[in-house]
Amino acid sequence: MGAIWDIIGNEVTYSSAMRFAVLLLFAASGEWVAERAGTLNISVEGMILAGAFGSAVSYDITGSIPLAILMGAFCGFLVSTIQANLSHRLPADQFVVGLTINILILGLVGFLDNVIEPSVDKASQATIPGLASIPVIGPALFDQPWPLYLVYPLVPAVWWLVYRTRWGLEVRASGEDPNSADVSGIRVNKRRRQTIYLTGLTSGLGGAYLVFGAVGAFADSIVGGRGFIAIAAVIFGGWTLKGSVAGCLLFGAVVSFRLSLPDQGYDGINTEFLTALPYIVTIVGMAAFAHRVRPPAALAKPFLRGLD
């Protein structure tokens, strides 16, 4: 029991958990919007990886982290244009497209990484005075590499976009009842494409954050399926933004255990188990909650009228 209290009381646990949760938050905030519009967008994994690689390469060239982060968002966006236009301009199956994109980006990044071999640095630590000295969670939230802080305005912005703007209303209508939305004069597939573009941007940001904020290096295995965990966080959260954020924090904490537990001296736990743990927790979490919540009624159902 003592060991558990050590872990729970340790600031490092929270800092490390936050670092991984933020990647999930970036990706999930876009993914949440896409799912509210009716797309279960599994290419989010490829979007993160493209963002990570794009930002790493542009940092290698320009040496500027802000520029590299912008480039990361752009690369995520580029990938999202493939998904959006194949599944919501042409009527190709969204899972098939998403899966193929993931394989394509993994292959492409693996191939180019060997050719370019970008070298990157970690972004500088930014401590927010005062807030950072809150006990236990202060350092986790307010003493982190600066790109992490980008997520703080992002999440409320996404909430505002979905619940307070006309665009958001149309997005929700498209995900709930595309036929009615269409009859009301909403371009369902256009809205769906736009939400995928948004996912591309936030996931690309997430990829850049992963490179500069969390890891400080690039490898083609850097994302390692965490995009899928972001999707699971949205489902776990019952398609509410609040729930998705909670899901990201929970899954982020579990992802971090693999690094933080051995760091804190608990190396008796099997590494395979720790690596698989986030996936296990994700599946168990979905099993516990998925049937209690109501997905957007048209989730993963294509809308064919108006594809012209």
Binding site: R164, T165, R166, L169, E170, R172, A173, E176, D177, N179, S180, A181, D182, V183, S184, G185, I186, R294, P296, A297, R305, G306
Partner: protein, 549 residues
């Protein structure tokens, strides 16, 4: 005046060609002096044609909607009214013809475009998003910034003006069908359309609600010079609410006249294409036959063929769908289940199709209880169902006609688990012949068949099982007259052969025509029962409206 189309010959020619001018000449007598009187027609349709495969949904249709008038568009289900209206709001692209709006030829590309051109539509289905609130639904499709306060105020104003009261913050999915339609109407009126199309607006309303609706519409027409197109297949509604009426049959305009010059018999004749006895004027079914099987007043059976005992069922969202429903159907009788749509018809049909499980209660066939919700349990017990939406649960569009004929029991055409294609074809051909299904053959894909023929495939399959109980849910919806008569005859024959028939229909006429006993469904339970001879239409209407006398 143009006469209503006479007997089946070639009624369309003369009527359509001078429909426009005829209306023009009668205009003055109908319109009061209003400033929009000299405006060009709100909407004019010239030579619109739309074909689906071999079938013409609209065949060079000409039609004029004037401001300040309620214009009835009458026709049987499938006469082409809905297609025409969908063309007007840009949901369907016509193959030929022109739409002229306020005197200008226009192409309507989609519903937004239609709204911009002043055409709004109140849909029968598919138009409000249940997960959103009333004000969000009303705001849907606007272009300007979202301003909840302003929209809520506007809803308040419109509600007061037209007498359509509604709570702007309610989630639409929690409202009754009548209120949902009210949302739809407010949404449409808020954009101040010059032309409003109402597609079968009363199919989900009780008689009282319909009255309120038409009062509001009359106000909109008289105060604001709106043109209203009222699409309906109900004669009394057309006679009571419209100024002019256009009658369509098989995709063509067959007649065009002032409502004040029309009577029910004439309209019915034009709509159907030959003299018909209005269903409700027909003889009471029981007197057509004196077979005691037909309508057992004191059933000799120990058990009813179908016995539904105080069933309760809830939807996924927790809404009560069936609320203590009791129903017995004996062999050889046709029980008509009347009621306003959305009061539990679908859940009941789902229950009898093994698609739903129960919170409590039981279903028995010949006294034997059935495991509700278990796949195929109802079919196995001898309940055949002709579902309301055949694409939803009646057939598999991607499969062949033959395959669709043996969905429920493929073992009939298989040997040791392997399908015998030759046997299947042979048996399918016989069924195709017996039920006069028009298709390219047993291997034709189901999607290549017309709606009526798909329905026949479903009927053929369900009857081939020699059912104990036959449930027909809205069996004639979307069919033309010939198909309707065929279906009605099949139901009568089934009952004569000793099957217990449950007819679920929102068409009172259909029930009065076929059923020997009526029960009324309201809010998921049976609220009344009467025999066909003792039908009291007024009391029936009150029961359907939920006011049990």
């Amino acid at each position: 005046m143009v006469e209503p189309g006479t007997a089946s010959g070639a009624p369309s020619g003369s009527a359509t060609s001078n429909a426009g001018p005829t209306v023009g000449s009668t205009e003055g007598s109908i319109l009061t002096t209003n400033q929009w009187r000299d405006d060009p027609p709100a909407v004019e349709v010239v030579g619109i044609t739309k074909r689906y495969g071999q079938v013409s949904a609209c065949d060079s249709v000409d039609l004029v909607f004037h401001r300040g008038q309620i214009h009835g568009v009458l026709g049987e289900n499938g006469a082409g009214k809905s297609t025409l209206m969908k063309i007007l709001i840009g949901l369907v692209v016509p193959d030929a013809g022109q739409v002229i709006i306020d005197g200008k030829p226009s192409v309507i590309t989609d519903p937004i475009d239609a709204a911009e051109k002043g055409i709004g539509m109140v849909h029968q289905h598919f138009s409000v998003v249940n997960a959103l609130t009333v004000w969000e639904n009303v705001a849907l499709g606007d272009q300007m910034r979202l301003n909840p306060e302003a929209i809520r105020d506007e809803i308040g104003d419109l509600s007061r003006h037209y007498g359509l009261d509604i709570e702007p913050n309610a989630v639409v999915g929690t409202l009754t069908a009548g209120l949902r339609q009210r949302v739809e109407i407010i949404k449409c009126l808020r954009r101040s359309p010059r032309t409003v199309i109402l597609d079968e607006p009363t199919s989900v309303l009780s008689p009282g609600e319909s009255e309120i609706l038409f009062e509001g519409l009359r106000r909109a027409v008289e105060d604001e010079g709106m043109a209203i197109a009222l699409v309906s297949h109900k004669l009394d509604e057309i006679l009571g609410a419209t100024d002019l009426v256009t009658i369509m049959r098989r995709g063509k305009v067959v007649a065009h006249q002032k409502t004040s010059d029309s009577d029910a018999a004439g309209l019915a004749r034009a709509m159907v294409g030959r003299p018909v006895a209005l269903r409700s004027e027909r003889e009471v079914p029981s007197s057509e036959t004196d077979s005691p099987k037909r309508r057992p007043t004191k059933p000799k059976q120990e058990h009813a063929s179908l016995e539904i005992d105080s069933v309760h069922a809830n939807g996924d969202d927790g809404r009560v769908l069936l609320d203590g429903l009791d129903l017995k159907v004996y062999r050889g009788e046709i029980v008509g289940l009347a009621g306003v749509e959305g009061n539990g018809q679908r859940p009941l049909a789902d229950l009898l199709s093994s698609l739903m499980s129960l919170a409590s209660g039981s279903v028995r066939v010949d006294g034997k209880p059935i495991a509700c919700g278990r796949a195929g349990a109802m079919a196995k017990a001898g309940i055949s169902v002709i579902p309301e939406d055949r694409h939803d649960s009646g057939c598999v569009l991607e499969m062949s006609v033959a395959e669709n004929l043996f969905l429920a029991d493929p073992n009939l055409v298989a040997r040791r688990g392997i399908l015998d294609h030759r046997k299947m074809t042979y048996r399918a051909e016989r069924l195709i012949e017996r039920f006069a299904i028009s298709c390219e053959g047993p291997d034709a894909p189901m999607w290549s068949l017309s709606g009526g023929n798909q329905q026949r495939v479903v009927l053929a399959r369900e009857m081939a099982h020699h059912p104990r109980v036959l449930v027909a849910a809205q069996p004639t919806r979307g069919l033309d007259v010939g198909a309707i008569e065929y279906m009605s005859e099949q139901l009568r024959q089934a009952a004569a052969a000793g099957v217990a028939v449950l007819l679920i229909s929102t068409e009172l006429d259909e029930i009065l025509d076929l059923a020997s006993r009526l029960v009324v469904l309201s809010k998921g339970r049976i609220v009344g029962e009467m025999s066909r001879e003792a039908v009291d239409i007024e009391r029936l209407g009150l029961m359907m409206g939920g006011a049990v006398p």
